[in-house]
């Protein structure tokens, strides 16, 4: 693309116009055009847009249009061998048409609770555990030594031998045992303290997990509701898609482009749809079909 002028499209006036822009002979990269629609004008011309990317960035296409709705993420760029999550997209399409569900209010409340929930960082349990494990061994070792020395002192005394050296050694070992036991008690306490903090952290995590489960459940039900609402319209569109299947016995098992075109027809777009497939005679016809502004690449 070197030497070419930067492509700038002004499509701010929205989709009511159902304009069709044909870029097929401009040699643009479809992926870049789709990205330009998603990112909007701010990203393309912002302070970070050109500088960092150098010459490359300066030639990125710019599409000045309204911010795409969620459904655009799924079917805003129609291209060969694309794959579409049909149910998810149907729900997004229903939302684009202002669809609501009985779950919306509860869902918003659950989301808000989740956003407010703070989960304390778990304490470091490794270090105190490791320390405790070491002290246990140390206490056992020195305790065995004390017992052995005691036995030797006893035996020496009974045999009438001089035991003062052994006694001194025993006293030293006994003192060390005391120290080790103190150390172990401290390590034990450190573990218990960390465990208490861990429990608090887990309580919060448990609350969060329950809320997340609840959110997922509500989202599933909301999606099912939305899909049900828009399913007939989708199947009608599927029957009429150029190059689509002869019968729609399995509306959720159709090829990506067919699905995208049918889904796009039932969705209400706010931003231009980038189309890179040959199902229609001309860009104008795609725009009419999708009832949206179309950039044909």
């Amino acid at each position: 693309m070197s030497g070419r002028e930067r492509l700038v499209l002004d499509l701010e006036d929205g989709d009511a116009s159902r304009r069709a822009v044909d870029l097929r002979d401009r040699g643009v990269d479809p992926v870049r055009v789709a990205a330009a629609v998603r990112e909007g004008i701010d990203a393309a011309t912002g302070a970070d847009g050109g500088g960092d990317a150098g010459d490359e960035g300066d030639r990125r296409p710019v599409v000045d249009c309204r911010a795409p709705r969620a459904v655009h993420d799924h079917v805003g760029f129609v291209r060969p061998s694309m794959s579409v999550r049909i149910r998810t997209t149907l729900a997004a399409a229903a939302r684009s048409r202002g669809g609501e569900t009985p779950q919306d209010e509860t869902l918003a409340a659950v989301r808000e609770k989740l956003a407010e929930l703070t989960v304390p960082e778990p304490p470091n349990l490794d270090a105190p555990r490791e320390r405790l494990a070491g002290t246990d061994d140390a206490v056992d070792r020195i305790r065995e030594r004390v017992a052995a020395l005691r036995g030797r002192v006893q035996a020496g005394r009974e045999a009438g031998r001089e035991v003062s050296d052994l006694e001194a050694e025993l006293a030293e070992a006994t003192r060390e045992l005391g120290e080790r036991e103190t150390e172990r008690a401290a390590a034990q306490e450190a573990v218990e303290r960390a465990e208490r903090l861990a429990r608090e952290s887990r309580d919060a995590r448990e609350r969060r997990r329950r809320l997340e489960d609840r959110r997922a459940n509500l989202e599933r039900r909301a999606r099912a509701h939305l899909v049900e609402r828009i399913r007939d319209a989708y199947e009608d569109a599927l029957r009429a898609v150029p190059g689509g299947p002869d019968d729609v016995a399995e509306p959720f098992a159709v090829d990506g482009v067919t699905a995208a075109l049918a889904l796009g027809r039932v969705a209400d777009f706010r931003a231009p749809v980038v189309v890179a497939c040959d199902r229609f005679e001309c860009p104008r016809a795609v725009a009419e079909w999708l009832e949206a502004t179309v950039i044909r690449v």
Partner: protein
């Protein structure tokens, strides 16, 4: 045994996968909790889970409960007698008072 508890959806998913892949280490799985065999391999799997999900995973080691070792005979007898009581609505505290079985408050304060 090793008691492994997950505290997030992601950790639960990984725990489920581990249990599916390594059935031999699983003694029992209850939703987001699993009891694993006491082997190095089970410990390895549990540690791997914790490595991946951090504070969302709790690992504890359980030991067999032997009521003849862990508690006094009076506790075992109290449990048996209370389950055999004639009035189902009778609270244990009242039952203990009239029969001389261990006081619930005292039991609460006594560790095993």
């Amino acid at each position: 045994m090793l008691l492994v508890v997950s505290y997030s959806r992601a950790a639960r998913g990984t725990l489920r996968n581990i249990c599916r892949t390594h059935e031999e280490v699983v003694v029992r799985r209850f939703g987001r909790v699993a009891l694993l065999a006491e082997t190095e391999f089970a410990a390895f799997q549990a540690l791997r889970l914790r490595e991946k999900h951090g504070g969302d995973v709790q690992i504890e080691r359980t030991r067999p409960f032997n009521e003849y070792e862990a508690v006094d005979g009076s506790i075992r007898e109290a449990a048996k007698a209370y389950e055999d009581r004639e009035r189902p609505a009778l609270p244990y505290a009242t039952f203990a008072e009239s029969t001389g079985y261990p006081d619930p408050e005292r039991m609460r304060e006594t560790d095993l």
